[in-house]
């Protein structure tokens, strides 16, 4: 690797104007909504869709699509940040807060744990500390910008954890496993960070 990289004359990143300091370090704002996938888009039918919380003892709590729709909805508007450096402001979603799901789980005696592992149609997984999906920070969303979430963007439903890099907002989510010990998911196994805070630039394992 060269000590001093060759600088391309006149090359700049995308517009860096950020008067309100909404951009985490290294990010640029986009008006697009880029689609990035680790695999082909699963197409799952609402008739067979379900969402499951499961603890390490194997206790589960399951919602069908209709049952899920009957839970309390919220409509968060948030900025999202992808580790590939684009950020998108003021995205509007509708879904169920994970706090709502975990409260129902507690009532059913589902065990608690310090970590969760999201699992999804198509096999994608991602891990998160419990503290990052509670306290109003995370949802399972099924609508974007007022319309049902498209398959390319994770529909029927995806995780939304906007304060972390967007690979944690797992598309096509079907459930959370509640764990005592952290277990790396799809990208984390390959070197991405277990937590992923864009404000601390926690992109890779080992980033403080």
């Amino acid at each position: 690797m060269a000590d001093s990289p060759f600088i391309a004359r006149g090359f700049h990143r995308h517009r860096a104007a950020d008067p309100a300091n909404r951009l985490p370090p290294g990010q640029y704002e986009t008006n697009d909504f880029p689609v990035l996938s680790a695999g082909p888009t699963p197409r799952s039918s609402l008739a067979t869709w379900d969402f499951t919380l499961r603890d390490e003892a194997g206790n589960t709590l399951r919602w069908s699509w209709d049952e899920f729709q009957s839970l309390a909805h919220e409509t968060p508007m948030v900025d999202i940040h992808c580790v590939t450096k684009w950020s998108k402001f003021d995205t509007r979603w509708e879904g169920v807060s994970i706090d709502t799901l975990l409260a129902a789980a507690r009532e059913k005696g589902i065990g608690e744990g310090a970590f969760v592992l999201a699992h999804c149609d198509g096999g994608y997984t991602t891990n998160l500390p419990l503290g990052d999906v509670t306290g109003g920070k995370a949802w399972v969303v099924f609508s974007f910008d007022g319309a049902p979430l498209e398959p390319e963007h994770g529909g029927p439903a995806r995780l939304l954890v906007p304060h972390l890099y967007f690979w944690k907002s797992a598309k096509w989510v079907r459930g959370l496993r509640i764990l005592q010990h952290d277990q790396p998911g799809f990208w984390e196994q390959l070197g991405y960070h277990d937590r992923g805070d864009p404000w601390k630039e926690q992109r890779y394992q080992g980033d403080p």
Partner: protein
């Protein structure tokens, strides 16, 4: 002993390393495309179909990397890349509009061992291009012109080139000249052309068009399909439906990233 030592040293993986090429020229092809003519210092030669990785680093350390197919024949004096400028792209507008002769450009390659063709591969050649997918196929056509008449006769070629309008067709003049070779047949499929003048098909590539313009499967051509993912996959499956062996249908998908 010394012979063996020499041959070990001569297998330099220099082409896997990044190096700074010199931009000798930037040439307009169509409104949206430019050809960069590069002098690459430690160039080991290439095969038609291979690509270069290009890397741009800004003063504040921001990096962007893209891959571009080599447009020039292996026999050409300089390495040429043809770039399509994508609106809102990050790299292609820089390469098309900012880069000037005399500038340096960091490149790595050539890369690719699957989507490659040489005139040493006997048999008819079928090339199907969607938009800027013509670039690596042009390298193959250009390479073919360097062979002698006897060798060329062994590798007759049919090209089907799909583009939006006639103004979007890259290498127009050169392709017209190629048609004078009896063993070269070129057909265009213009999907959004409104003028009555331009010849060729006026619709997207479909099964009937391939039946008309491509070599029949019984001729067992070597097939190369290149273009955006949906185009490439649709054409490749149509060709397999028409009886071409999947192993003979090589594809290269171009992405929308700019």
């Amino acid at each position: 002993m010394e012979g063996a030592a020499l041959s070990r040293r001569s297998v330099t993986p220099a082409r896997l390393e990044w190096q700074v090429a010199n931009v000798a020229d930037v040439r307009a092809e169509t409104d949206r495309t430019r050809t960069l003519v590069l002098r690459v210092p430690a160039w080991s030669g290439h095969r038609a179909g291979q690509h270069l990785d290009v890397r741009l680093v800004s003063e504040d350390g921001y990096r962007a990397e893209r891959s571009y197919s080599i447009a020039s024949a292996p026999e050409a004096a300089a390495v040429e890349l043809t770039i399509e400028r994508l609106e809102d792209g990050e790299v292609s507008p820089y390469l098309c509009d900012v880069l000037q002769p005399g500038d340096g450009l960091e490149v790595r390659g050539p890369i690719g061992g699957y989507f490659v063709w040489t005139t040493m591969q006997p048999g008819p050649l079928l090339l199907v291009a969607g938009g800027s997918g013509i670039v690596p196929l042009m390298a193959m056509l250009r390479h073919r012109t360097h062979a002698d008449a006897k060798a060329r006769a062994n590798v007759p070629v049919r090209l089907l080139y799909s583009a939006r309008t006639w103004m979007d067709v890259i290498y127009k003049d050169e392709l017209e000249k190629l048609k004078s070779d009896a063993d070269v047949s070129i057909a265009f499929a213009l999907t959004r052309e409104s003028s009555a003048d331009a010849s060729g098909f006026r619709r997207r590539v479909d099964r009937a068009m391939l039946e008309e313009a491509a070599w029949p499967a019984s001729d067992m051509p070597n097939v190369f399909v290149c273009g955006p993912t949906p185009f490439t996959e649709s054409v490749a499956s149509l060709l397999v439906e028409l009886g071409h062996a999947p192993a003979n249908v090589r594809t290269e998908r171009f992405g929308p990233t700019g």
